[in-house]
Assembly symmetry: C2
Homo-oligomer: 406 residues x 2
């Protein structure tokens, strides 16, 4: 039941109901939960860190900390972010209880009921649920293999009567689309926003999880481009480089945005856990991150390669996708005549679960895609999972043919 | 700088500015920060727990958990709360990132701009900052040594044109007033609310910190009174029984209130840290809480006794207070002609800091009180702190006389 609840956190509510009804108690192969692999966490490293903490630091773990964050962690993050080219000296860092809290704080800071937020389509479902909670009016812009559709973005901005408050994007190893924005697309995006007053909310949870060292430069954030006339708020997370259980994230913004955000955070949970911040800080400060990431990248690459191979082997030719260069996800494209929800019904009945396409559409309609998460898969289950999924797809394809012929 | 930021979290913004200006860099004796004593945390117990966690549980520390909370912790909390008489079978528990998050969630669930919240006067400043963030209209009711003023409460409710959404109270070892509600007052309060549709938000962070085993029954929560026609939301915290650094709290409510609260929590931070929940759960499950609380009570009692003794010895006779029976605070009453803010200026110049009375007045005006927190004081500093405070009070009293004579 527990792992089950875990897996459904990012699923469409209708799909959860179906899953509860049809699959409760069954053992499932899950491509669903967008989370790190439980067998790959840096347990040994954190053990070492915890057990060698000086007594005074350990006591500090138990105490309240400043709302803005544990000062040594802010310092370590400045070093970490400076290496990525983020202009930390001109910015302020606010530590948050996971990067979702950062998105929540920013939304609370800028959005009143009816204000417009621009998102990608598809869009990270956690952010969508935040935006909806605050009553934002959402307008989504399609993405292709290189990032957001610039023409559609320009058209959307021109067509709106009110200026959107911000544009929310996840340019690196997109969830769910798996793509990374090309440097050209990032540049074009900044040009479009330039001078419009639309804030860019750049959510970067996956940039450390590239598969190929040669492609690391592709993860360069827009925050680091040095553009002066676009206000960029950058959010990051420890969830993929340490573990979501730490609930550690952060936002990098101007002083002005930071000050209001800090007041909002104070009224949300006073401060983020000192315990988690101190362990996180030591992980960075003791330079344990780089070797751990090396290990993690090779493990996730292996899983991606297996999934890629089996998808090529078993899926019908009508199904297409972009092979990801990092991150956790493969985003399958279905023929227009079938829906991911229909495959879902068939698939869970046979023991495989994934997340349906409509989950990531702000309007909850577009359903010609499905998300497979490979990060959390046991390697030995991938082939079996793909076979079952493939059979489900074939059956739905056959049925759709029959329906058409009838 | 760090401990300093810590201490100012619950202070009035004007007082912080003054403190920064006058006392920055100075070594201060602080009666200010309302927090547990850093030398009393259960560091050894948590060490033992952490190092004996089974490998699979330890891995779970790093992963996402269900939004409602880590199921074994919910189970342990049910046992813990059942012993306090809380009707856990008819209620739902939501684990929150500190009990302030519970207050924040409840406010988000019930309050739209302009809705009325009733509070005590004085009131926990953290809650006030949450209520203000959501644009609530606050109406406060005075408290005396036995709890909220029933006549004033009735009069307030009758005088309002709109029904308040909820009444927020902290009946056990009130912050800042130090008092505990008498059982009669709790009963009367429930009678007043009965049938009005006003929800009772009962915040109970300190009930385990009574000084005398014989008075434990006084901490019985109103949630456990079995009243049917008042909707009671009960909030609790691990901050005083384990450490604020864990950011662990919870709310106990009806199924209906829980369901909406869970959705709000999902959009705030997805879930509370599994790491902290697992350590917290083991602390309860391995029955480490009771012996630790015994130790904690005797330590805080000793500090309270010292502070009580030195206040009796050194303070001018015009200053009065109720000796607390538990908790962290002594709440001094000043003669009407002097203000706590004036004493604050004098006191910080000589190295003693506390929290001014107006900080806890929702209107930010009433300033004839001051809060001394004894929990976080080194025992050997209490006498010196009281002497300096006493001199400051005497000086302000003298000045006020001169002013009147002139």
């Amino acid at each position: 039941m527990y792992a089950f609840s875990n897996a459904v956190n990012s699923m469409h509510s209708e799909d959860i109901k179906l899953l509860m009804k049809q699959a409760s108690g069954k053992s499932m192969i899950s491509f669903a939960g967008g989370m790190p692999n439980i067998d790959l966490f840096p347990v040994k490293q954190i053990d070492d860190i915890y057990n060698s903490l000086p007594e005074n630091t350990k006591k500090l773990c138990f105490q309240y900390g400043p709302t803005s964050g544990y000062p040594p962690l802010i310092n370590s993050l400045q070093n970490y972010l400076a290496k990525k080219g983020i202009p930390v000296n001109d910015s302020k860092i606010l530590i948050t209880t996971g990067s979702l809290q950062a998105i929540s704080i920013i939304t609370q800071e800028f959005i009143n009921e009816g204000d417009i937020i621009l998102t990608e389509n598809p869009c990270f479902v956690g952010a969508l649920s935040v935006f909806e909670t605050f009553g934002a009016e959402l307008h989504s812009i399609p993405i292709d293999k290189d990032g957001i559709d610039i023409k559609a973005l320009k058209h959307k901005i021109a067509s709106l009567e009110k200026t959107p408050k911000f544009l929310y994007v996840t340019p690196n190893y997109h969830n769910p689309a798996g793509i990374i924005y090309s440097p050209e697309r990032k540049k074009e995006l900044l040009e479009v926003l330039s001078g419009t007053g639309i804030i860019l909310l750049e959510d970067d949870a996956y940039s450390d999880l590239y598969f190929n060292e040669d492609e690391k430069h592709l993860t360069k954030s827009m925050k680091s481009y040095g553009v002066k006339d676009v206000d960029i708020i950058y959010t990051g997370s420890f969830s993929k480089i340490l573990g979501p259980g730490f609930r550690l994230g952060y936002m990098v913004s101007s002083q002005e945005i930071f000050e209001k955000a800090e007041i909002i955070k104070q009224a949300l949970d006073a401060c983020t856990s000192n315990f988690m911040q101190i362990l996180g800080n030591e992980f960075l400060e003791q330079h344990k991150l780089e070797s751990y990431l090396k290990f993690l990248r090779s493990e996730y690459l292996e899983r991606k390669n297996l999934l890629q191979k089996y998808l090529e082997t078993y899926l019908p030719k009508e199904i297409s996708w972009n092979e990801p260069k990092g991150g956790f996800y493969i985003w399958l494209k279905l023929p227009a005549r079938i829906k991911s929800t229909d495959i879902f019904k068939e698939s869970i009945a046979n023991g495989v679960v994934f997340v349906t396409g409509r989950t990531f559409d702000p309007a909850g309609i577009k359903d010609d895609r499905l998300r497979l998460c490979f990060s959390n898969m046991p390697k030995e289950s991938i082939e079996k999972g793909v076979i079952i999924l493939s059979e489900a797809i074939k059956k739905v394809l056959r049925n759709s043919k029959t329906t058409i012929e009838n």
